[in-house]
Amino acid sequence: MEAERDIVLSASGIEKRFGDVIALDCVDFDLRAGEIHALLGVNGAGKSTLIKILSGVYAKDGGTVTIRGEPVELGTPRAAIEAGIAVVQQHPELVSDLTGAENIFLGQEAPRPGLFRRVDAAGIASRAARLLHRFPIRIDLDQRIGDMPPVEREIVAILHALRLEDARILILDEPTSTLTEREKSSLFAMMRTLQASGIAIIYITHRLEEVFEIADRFTVFRGGRNVATMTVADARATRASIPNLMLNEAAGEIFPPHGDEQEGEILLETRDLGREAAFEGISFAARRGEILGIFGLIGSGVDALSKVLFGAIRADTGEILLHGRSVRLRSPADALAHGIFLVPGDRRSEGLSMEEDVVFNMTLANLGRASWCGFMRAGANRRVARDLMRRVDLQPMRLARPLRGFSGGNQQKVVIAKGLYRRAQVYIFVEPTIGVDIGARAKIYLLMRDLAREAAVIVMSSDCDEVYGVADRTVALYKGSPVGHPERGIPRNQLLHAGIMGRLDQ
């Protein structure tokens, strides 16, 4: 068969487990020479795990990988590079103060002989010229990286990955998440150039319209399995619904029942909230007794929105109303005083003091309540922390253990306990279950529902199933703009469609 001979990379029966979690379950995947192959799937569907196996970051637990018919072991990144696989990470690390060419050949400067081992600038320039000869792309590689726009940095990162002559397979992990429309098209132009020179590209994205724009074929992952591989032309012809393929029908089971339909009073309201280069026109109301879900991918502006609502950064336009009164939130301390609590998306760097123990962390957001005349009420705080620990079901129940000794899910429970101790009116959760195992996830959703009895809860997440499963009303954010009507809410497949396509499915 014609297609069989063209296959440069073929993976079959790939398995990967993390403890009890099966990340990849007997996955088959193949890549043809010179094609652009998109990988799709919601968070945790397994696409990143496959990429990490192909790039030698993870060792697979089962299955075989062949490249041009030859079986290969990709146990280490070096082995993957030698097999001709080049990877560009989602956030490539480049040195801002060096030029594009210097970044491409970083670590391979081949210094001139002699005492000082000076960098051979002329040599680097000629190698960069040769690279640009192979891939005719218009870019000034003598510019400092720090002076380049994001798309040119991305291109430098790609050239860095392709600097070795024998790289035939390129993996791009969400390269467009920080790019504007116009920048995206110049990245796509580069991808077509690479394609024309015979390089096969695996392209991870969350945005469906990009698949139809650039890819030849695509593969959809769901729950660690490859649920569909088809050509874009076939998908067009058969009008296949990709969002439906991506959604996991069994995901509903870990979510608690929704709240009753009673309309609670509006606690927090935003009117036409906007911030330069992040989001615009955000208007919604969060009511006591309900969970409002906001679905948005990375780069959609949810992270900035959460920080504006918490007073950590300012909005440029619009207003925030609490209990119907317009407020200006100048700082997180201000927001806390107004009864807003944020469970941040990155609990390690934003939510916890990892070296401190459970009591310290649980009481930190409400030191006024935890102290008397300026002195900490050590005994009382320990009792309160013990109660909170039971309430959030912390495992193991060790008050004196530093936070770094707990798993991700239990760390998140401590952040939630911190919020419980604060007794806020509005709780904002950002990516509440990233890096959280399934048991702790169910508990965290239950705690949110619990909180929503007395307060308004807002959940912002890039996990569509999560937003849909836990929230009473949902809205999607696409590149900073809201999609859908927040008062009525939108159904599940529509929600995914809205978040990845930027409009409702007609």
Partner: protein, 324 residues
Amino acid sequence: MRTHPVLMRLLAFAAIVAVVACVFQSLTPTFLTAENLRGLLRHMAINGLASLGLTFVIVVRHVDLSFPGVASLGAMTLGWLISTNAPLLEAVCGAMAVGAAFGLLNGIAVARLKLPDIVTTIATGGLAIGLAYFYSDGTTISQNFMMSGLLDLNDAKVFGIDEPFAILLATAVIAYLVLHTSRAGHAFYATGENPVSARFSGIGVRRTVVLAFIICGVTGCLAIMLLVASAGASDVTAGNQLLMPAFAAVYLGAALFGRPSVPATMAGTLLMSMMLSGFVLLATPYYYSDAIVSTVLIAAILAFDPDLLRAVRHGIPTGRERAV
């Protein structure tokens, strides 16, 4: 059963103290005499006060290199005020006000203007030394010192304890209450460990950092007051000898007890003072003892920095990592 970690560390500390004492006692029989131990504690009072203030700055994960210079300015301010017949209390308050003002300056520069702490505090320390020359064009001041009562600070006793050591104990108790039992203490540790999470918990991170620098400036001037009292004169270079022992004490204590804290700093200061006093008895030239203090400082930094430590014992998981 797990052995109690704090108990283990205390035992380790006691063992080190015993070893250091035995070594010096075997080299010079005068080491463990009452007279020498009194001198040792008096010396410890000076370094201990400077180290206590520095502890706050280290807890918020910053560095203050200005306090020796600021202390020199404090010494000259103190001497000048006494030479103009100001009462002792006013003179001491004047010196401490200088320390507080420079602490405020450092804090604003580092916390609000986001200047790099090392370079900034080197500069403010230099500024303070420059100002110290204004009082007397750099000559020592000792007029009125006998009558003012300043020298009594060094010689008087409180409840049978030499007054310098009593001042150190009182300051240490206050520092302990603030850092380890008060609301502000939690703010210091939270700020140092993770300023973002501290800010998201409603803590005034900048204010906390400024406060730490002010405390460091004030205790540096308290320390210099004792030094001036024992020397009997104010000198523009008085503060220079504070720098290395203070840093070594804080880091040594942190290495021994796992993190910087008031008890850790006191333990570190005790060890440092024992070593310095031993070297004096052995008539070691000061430049050798300086070199040894610096070596201890580097060893302590190595032990305190978890990343470095992990790199050193590469491959052996620590108890904490196993817990994860």
